[in-house]
């Protein structure tokens, strides 16, 4: 039973990690990355590592996507401005 749960969690990780690479738009990528963070947290919990799961949840699904979105926002704003000048 426990093995089945681990296999499901591993498959979910593989699917969402592949999706994170396959999605090309950085904004969507950040969102998929957040989902990947949650799925990884589930995997770590299933493997009885709640400490790591908590770190993964906090960093992988909140902090990293947030930093990515802010960076994308900055780059896009600069692009808009240069477009206006031309």
């Amino acid at each position: 039973m426990a093995d089945a749960v681990i296999v499901v969690a591993l498959l979910l990780v593989a699917v969402s990690a592949t999706a994170a690479v396959a999605v090309r738009d950085p904004v969507r990528q950040a969102l998929v990355l957040a989902v990947l963070g949650v799925v990884l947290a589930v995997l770590f919990t299933v493997l009885q590592a709640p400490d790591v799961a908590l770190s993964q949840l906090a960093v992988g699904s909140a902090l990293t996507p947030l930093l990515l979105l802010l960076a994308v926002h900055k780059v896009k704003r600069r692009g808009r401005k240069e477009g206006r000048h031309r």
Binding site: D51, L54, L63, L67, L70, K81
Partner: protein
Amino acid sequence: MSRRVRLWLLAVGGAGLATLFVAAALDLPALGGDHHPYGDRAVHASLARHTANVIASVNFDQRAFDTLGEMTILFAAVVGCGVLLRQTRDEHRDRPAPEKVARPVRRHALLVLPVALLTGLYVIAHGQLSPGGGFQGGVVAATSLHLLYLGADYRALERVRPVGLYETGDAIATSAYVVTGLAGLIGGTAFLANTVLPYGTFNTLSSGGTVPLLNAAVGMEVACAVVVLLARFLDQAVEIEEGNGK
């Protein structure tokens, strides 16, 4: 180097790595099982010092020096980010105009903020007792403050987040960790040795000797570091514009 040779080189390297991985994986003990030489010793050492969360004991007692290194990495990374993302001479600051926030977003953000902040602080405070600890709780507490940016606007966030104060807090917390380590050197036996304080009653907030202190120092350091890091990113994303504003 032609494309063909490069592909061949990649294939050879990849095949070698894959072989080594498979060879290593075949030698690993099976998943699960009941023979854990390191785990048993770590649990024994942790219980001997009245620390309920063995992970906290490993992080802040048995391998406290490792944690000092990790903490310094985060500190250095945030300092580096601050230097890279600073306002340069050919940039200027534009105050962002207040923006309208959809009412459900505002309501939910302001509802979740205190809960998330309290959760973060709880996770830090109970690091030595239950899963979590300074790092996890610090990140949660620091990111929860930024719900104010979602629920209200950038100015409201700036009011509760004087960045200078958090920068000082970051440095103080890092020093506090080192000072606690030095206390072990002076009052006990070695740097970061957990022999200075009484171990207390098992499974209470003050148990574990120096573990709660080091845990709290890491919590403060991580919370301040994340706030400063996000502040630098937000500055660049929202406020700092190119050109010197003339």
